[in-house]
């Protein structure tokens, strides 16, 4: 609006200046020359301001010519018929020039506006195509709308999925209070199947021109496209995750049923033998069979415990009961158990006396030691040494290492061995669900520690850290 007003004023001012200049040399000028010179402000106004300012300049020039330059001066009367002809010719000429030039200017402006619009749209679609997360998308859409339309405030509202969302820019809108409840314009974002949301735009002072409105609608439809694409992609990846977890579950099931059946087979065989009345078992044979039953029962129990832990870690439902603990006290029962299970290994527990207390769940950490020791027993040769050592890592952590003299693991596999079902050796060589290390990782990390694997010069080690502070505080111990 203000721009148009400026051009109208300009056309009058230019005509006035030309009039003033001509008035000084009025007596030396032919009327035809004056009329010719008057075409100057008309052309200029039309070129600068377009059609309407041009016409205004033409009319102003027409009246000025008549009033100031055609005798009798100072009136709009014309005596000589020749002068009338000059006037008419001038008017026709001035109007046609301003029309021609004006149209050209107008179409140039339109072309520029179109180009600008196209550039903006390109920018928008480019920006949106790079984004994948819905909130990022919507924020970007709001930001671009805000800039392009020079708006006071823009809101992008989305329906459902899972909750309705609202992005408002500028975020902390201090001017928000002065804005009316109703937006200046509201454009809905219509998806293929249903309404996805709407763009609300506040702009004080001037309404949107039809071309701006059209552009805003295009913005909305670009937003819809991007949103639908993002949602489609999200659904697809969710489906992929489900599929993955399904695959994991069936792998778990097959691995587990195999693992469970092995001890069950031993137990069943031993029990049916003992019940059989055909054979009178020697005392020693009876003891062997019974020992096998007991061992396999413990084995089954540990398996079930691991499965339970795994499913809890998976579900994020691991219930932690973290307390101050003496690390050696946690490792000792596991060591004792491992010594019973692996009489052919030497198992050393070497934890310094003065190691600070660790803030962990002792029951779960015992599972970690059980799993690490049982792995060591499986993978290291008979008559070799398995060692548990520990020390101070830094002011907030201790390190713990469980190492054995088993074979080295490929560097590339050092990280992978903590994955579920990952086994270093072929599945049928060594029994196990491949869950042990991934459970250890889950438990150590839940206790705010970290765990990793290392190849030693002559063997293999799992190392982990455990915190010696609870929320940044050391334990307080009474003196007496």
């Amino acid at each position: 609006m203000q721009r148009r007003l400026f051009y109208f004023l300009l056309s009058i001012v230019i005509t006035a200046i030309v009039t003033a200049g001509l008035l000084v040399i009025r007596d030396q000028m032919e009327i035809a020359t004056v009329a010719l010179l008057y075409l100057l402000p008309v052309g200029t106004s039309a070129a600068l301001g377009g059609l309407s300012p041009g016409i205004l300049a033409a009319l102003t020039a027409f009246f000025s010519l008549n009033y100031f330059f055609l005798p009798p001066y100072g009136t709009l009367m014309v005596h000589q018929s020749q002068d009338i002809l000059v006037l008419i010719v001038f008017l026709v000429l001035a109007v046609s020039i301003s029309q021609l030039v004006g149209r050209m200017t107008n179409s140039l402006a339109t072309a520029r506006a179109r180009e600008n619009e196209t550039a903006r749209l390109y920018e928008l679609s480019l920006a949106l195509s790079r984004l994948h997360r819905e909130p990022d998308l919507l924020t970007n859409l709001a930001q671009q709308t805000l800039e392009t339309f020079q708006a006071e405030q823009v809101e992008v509202f989305t329906e459902g999925e899972p909750q309705p969302g609202l992005i408002r820019l500028p975020e902390a809108s201090s001017r928000g209070n002065s804005l009316s409840e109703q937006p200046t314009i509201l454009v809905s974002m219509q998806g293929r199947q249903r309404l996805l949301g709407e763009i609300r735009l506040w702009r004080t002072g001037w309404t949107l021109s039809p071309s701006e409105e059209r552009l805003l609608r295009t913005y909305a439809s670009q937003g819809v496209l991007a949103l639908e694409r993002a949602r489609l992609a999200a659904n697809e990846s969710r489906a992929r995750i489900l599929e993955e977890s399904d695959r994991m579950k069936s792998a778990l099931l097959s691995s587990v049923s195999h693992e469970l059946r092995t001890p069950l087979a031993t137990i069943k065989a031993a029990v049916t033998s003992l019940r059989s009345e055909d054979v009178a078992w020697e005392a020693e044979a009876r003891r062997d069979l019974l020992a096998a039953i007991e061992e396999e029962t413990d084995h089954l129990n540990q398996l079930v415990g691991n499965l339970l832990n795994m499913s809890r870690i998976e579900a994020g439902a691991l219930q932690l009961n973290r307390r101050w603990n003496v690390l050696a006290e946690i490792a000792a029962p596991a060591t004792k158990r491992a010594r019973l299970a692996g009489p052919n290994h030497r198992i050393e527990l070497d934890i310094p006396e003065d190691l600070p207390l660790v803030y962990v769940d002792d029951v779960l950490m015992e599972h970690v030691f059980n799993n690490l020791l049982s792995n060591s027993l499986k993978y290291s040769p008979s008559n070799s040494i398995i060692k548990i050592t520990a020390g101070l890592q830094d002011e907030q952590n201790v390190w713990v290492q469980v190492d054995n003299q088993g074979p080295a693991v490929l560097e590339a596999d050092l990280k992978k061995i903590f994955d579920k079902f990952h086994r270093v050796t072929a599945a049928d060589q060594i029994t196990g669900t491949g869950l042990g290390l991934s459970i250890c990782k889950g438990i150590v990390e839940a206790n705010q520690g970290s765990i990793w694997a290392e190849n030693l010069e002559h063997g293999f080690a799992i190392r982990f850290t455990l915190p010696t502070q609870a929320e940044g505080v050391n334990p307080r111990i009474p003196n007496e």
Partner: protein
């Protein structure tokens, strides 16, 4: 009547009931069985058993509630059974008056040991002259004289160390929860400071055990508490 101890088993799994009845009867106990909490409570009131074995997961009511209701009128020892990984339930049951616990699956030797300890404590509670000297291997703990000897030599303990040892030893064989030890030896306000216990138990073990890392007398029950093992 015979002087066979009478045991009430409350468990909803029939296999366990059948096995326990056979095994315990074979060990010269009289055995009653109940499959629900209500039935167990009624049977306990009617038959006044010498000890109760109570599974914590019952179909009709929470095992902890059964514990509390029993404790309203009887001191009969209660041994709770539960599966692994439910330490909280066990601690709750112990703090609600249960005497001991066993984790399923358990060996029958363990169960028999628990029953014996429970019966002995119940008998001790009834008699006037309580045991004032507890022996455990080379250790002789004189609760009345505040004296501890190891292989005949006196072991110097601080006041708190002795108080802790005395509480553990006078409950020899029984599990004591962290909460119960802390509020007994220190103060109920210190009941959640397990770190005190860790440090003082560690000190005691250094003075009393041959190998403090593989203790024989003061045993840790992970997630639950401690147990003092008396006898040889």
């Amino acid at each position: 009547m015979s002087n066979q101890p009478h045991i009430l088993v409350i468990d909803d799994e029939h296999q366990i009931l059948r096995a326990l009845r056979t095994i315990l009867t074979g060990r010269q106990f009289r055995v009653s069985i109940a499959a629900t909490g209500e039935e167990g409570l009624a049977l306990a009131a009617a038959s006044q058993p010498d000890a109760i074995i109570l599974d914590l997961s019952l179909p009709d009511m929470d095992g902890v509630t059964v514990c509390k209701r029993l404790r309203e009128w009887t001191h009969t020892p209660i041994i709770v059974l539960s599966v692994r990984d439910s330490e909280q339930d066990k601690v709750q049951a112990l703090d609600s008056g249960a005497d001991d616990y066993l984790t399923k699956p358990f060996g029958i030797d363990e169960l028999l040991a628990r029953i014996r300890v429970a019966l002995r404590h119940a008998a001790a509670r009834g008699s006037a002259n309580k045991r004032t000297v507890v022996t455990a291997g080379p250790l002789v703990i004189d609760l009345a004289q505040h004296l501890v000897r190891r292989d005949g030599e006196e072991v110097k303990l601080t006041a708190t160390e002795f108080k802790l040892l005395a509480y553990l030893a006078s409950n020899a064989g029984r599990v004591l929860t962290h909460l119960s030890i802390l509020s007994h030896v220190w103060d109920p306000a210190d009941a959640d400071h397990v770190e005190y216990l860790r440090v003082f138990v560690h000190q005691l073990r250094k003075k009393l055990e041959d190998d403090p890392v593989q203790p024989r007398f003061i045993l840790s029950e992970p997630g639950i508490g401690y147990r003092f093992m008396a006898g040889d």
